[in-house]
Symmetry: C3
């Protein structure tokens, strides 16, 4: 799609400075602006880019004073950042306009599909599934039997939902996400192992977003639960019977072992590992690559493997780097003694 400066100015209530007919088809950062893109200038530190940018249109604040000529068409508004965010959101919304069930999708006759749903080619919707209104499911996704998906979800391509999965509303699942795979439960039987049947499910509450190729195991019994507003990055492992509290944010490649309960508003860095059966309090912060082997009280901030308070870790690590010198000092003291 292309828009003229005039059309965008009308949308934003902006004043045009330059060619109202110039057209754009994409958005850009001002320092990376290319012809045919629209950018914005809000942070005064970036003002120098305004004079050289190749962007065809730049949204600027009402009161910006120019120091020299500008090639781009300017759109002057009260708050350039807010106006740009408004366009960004409109652009983004526009990416997900499809509706209807593609003829090459396979939808069970016992499934219940809400209004304005999109189900792409190659999707398989199994028996007794319920899908809420305005939910979009991209191609080649599988929704297992008896699963429920709420309203206004965005489920990208190649997502795999096992049976009995419960997904709230306004949930986003990125490509390759697996929900409801068996927990890693095996009972030793001599030298080999017997599988422990995993018959629970996964519940994902409203407003959760889950990154590409992340996997969340079903509970052995009961449910693995991801609470309202949680944000999980890509390639994360969530084991059986884990519970993650509201608005907790976890960066990429972190792994959480079985039955661990994580509080609300926790922030966990990338590549963190957590053993099973832990209780992690609210508002905890865990540095990247840490290993968590014990419970953490509310508000703890930790690092290391195993982790301890982050300030102490950083101090210890300073001396870790100085260990060769410390060893020399000890040798010298021994020689003197």
């Amino acid at each position: 799609m292309e828009f003229s400066a005039q059309q965008i100015a009308d949308m934003l209530g902006a004043r045009i400075e330059g060619d109202p007919q110039v057209k754009v088809h994409n958005l850009s950062k001002i320092e990376e602006g290319k012809e045919g893109t629209l950018s914005f200038l809000a942070n005064p530190q970036y003002t120098r880019y305004l004079y050289d940018t190749e962007a065809s249109i730049v949204i600027v604040n009402q009161d910006l004073a120019l120091e020299k000529a500008v090639k781009a068409t300017l759109l002057r508004v009260e708050d350039a950042y807010a106006a740009f965010a408004q366009l960004l959101e409109a652009y983004n919304q526009n990416r997900h306009q499809k509706t209807g069930v593609h003829p090459q999708a396979s939808v069970s006759e016992s499934a219940t599909i809400g209004t304005d749903v999109y189900i792409g080619a190659g999707c398989v919707i199994d028996d007794h599934v319920t899908i809420g209104a305005h939910t979009k499911i991209y191609p080649n996704t599988y929704v297992g039997a008896h699963s429920q998906i709420g309203d206004e979800c965005l489920i990208y391509s190649g997502v795999q939902l096992y049976d009995q999965s419960v997904i709230g509303s306004k949930v986003t699942l990125h490509a390759g996400v697996v929900i409801g795979s068996d927990g890693f439960g095996f009972a030793p039987q001599g030298e080999s192992y017997d599988k422990v049947a995993q018959i629970g499910n996964v519940i994902i509450e409203d407003g959760v977003e889950i990154g590409a190729n992340t996997s969340i195991d079903r509970a052995t019994l009961g449910s693995t639960i991801i609470r309202r507003g949680v944000k999980l990055d890509n390639l994360i492992q969530v084991a059986h019977n884990v519970e993650i509290g509201e608005n907790t944010v976890i960066a990429s490649q972190t792994g959480i072992a079985g039955s661990t309960k994580i509080g609300k508003n926790v922030m966990i860095g990338g590549q963190v590992g957590m053993v099973g059966h832990l209780t992690i309090g609210n508002n905890v912060k865990i540095a990247a690559q840490s290993g968590i082997a014990g419970d953490l009280p509310e508000g703890a901030i930790v690092q290391g493997s195993p982790a301890f308070p982050i300030g102490d870790y950083k101090k210890s690590y300073v001396y870790f780097r100085k260990l060769p010198q410390m060893a020399k000092d000890i040798d010298q003291l021994k020689n003197q003694a």
Copy 2:
């Protein structure tokens, strides 16, 4: 499905205490019991939950003496845990009852499909593939040319098998598993790299279970081999020409580089990394997040990156935490000297 207490009592040979008509449709833990679920009480420590549980039916041991009234219908049996495990298994078996090839699957005319096989919608079975009896393949899975799959396998949705893969019997592959991708082999050619052709395959023996989104690369030449009874968790990386010995168990997000040979009955924690061309003995145990850079003899138990004996690691780590104090002590001693 719903079952009455009477029906379940008949199945287990149990004595009913309470309403024989009460119905259940799911299983639960006694402390999380909800109406319509069946639970069990085997561990005396959980007896207190019996009196408050919302579970509609609870299986208990023959000789359990009640201290007060119980709302749930009780089913008395010789061994409550064994009886519950029996139901769990029956429930689980019941999840995989489908048979037949879905009309929206694509099965090559040269493929050989055993009896009572299920092949879901969107599956693609390529040329010269053989699939054994009673194997279930969930939707949107791809089985590459000349692959062989044994009997009674459970292959979940969105699994990708490259050509020439050999899968034994009673193997479970979870959603998103990739088997047979190219090994990471490149020969430097000036500043760039030439690809080394990867023409081997992957062999997975009987009784192996592989977790969601785990990837196993084909051998450069020969085979990457996962021996009988191995259990791999989610998001694990197994590189080309690796061999993993019988009944070895590996937790999530561990990575094993090319040509490493791992013995039998080894236990490897989560997020472990192993360099290539190692030999790891039988019965080795490796703590989570360890880095393995050298061979390990039979029975070794290690931690750290690089790893060394776990007892020594734990001792060193105690002093790592005390490093700032040790540095102060050294300074004081130097001042005194």
Copy 3:
């Protein structure tokens, strides 16, 4: 396919020693040779395997002097390794001979498909996609709207390309790869988070190879860029707005946070973590499991979490292992003081 010793000798211009009618259908290492396979002997250290190998044909150097009888048919050539590599490449090429669009693929009418393209069953090619000549796309792959794919690419099964992805020529994407998922961007809004729209894309230049289940997020604005000749292993995470320089090689399970720029010819081990907004110089080498928290100058070689120069890390780690002894020494010195 089967070939006789005579056929292969004709292809390589080799002299036959033994049965010219013996047939092979696969390649093997000489120490793992089986009947029906062809192997080679180039490294004199492996000469002892020649006399016992089960391989039906072995390619050897012109001048090899036999010490005893050999069961296999020998093919004598000028350079045994080069001749074998030639066969390896021919065998490998032969794996990807399919062309045409499978009737069970779903290709948008607005897509542009080049000559000799293969699009497997279950593939979904969305609106306004362009696919170059000789590109092969295996089953169940999704190519999002407005994506461009160059010539001679090899895209395996179950790959997920979001809209607007730009893929160069001679690119290999392994099964389960996700390209263009949203960056992990959320703005705190009280205790919860608002999503920051991610409207950029991913650009992958010529000759890149990306391993199974690796995920590359689209840029917030602009492009996440993987430069010419980069090789990424399996299960790697590349966040939004990252740029990876030419011919850089990254091992499995490494994660790179948002907006980090990596130079050319960098070598990164497995399970490395890198925070966002860093600049990593050309020719840097990073040891496996390291954590990178700051910029690295050209040519730096580092290890540790956080990482520092590898020689210093190794020295510090030697003393980490000796910490209990050092602590004892300090105690003794204190007692003496």
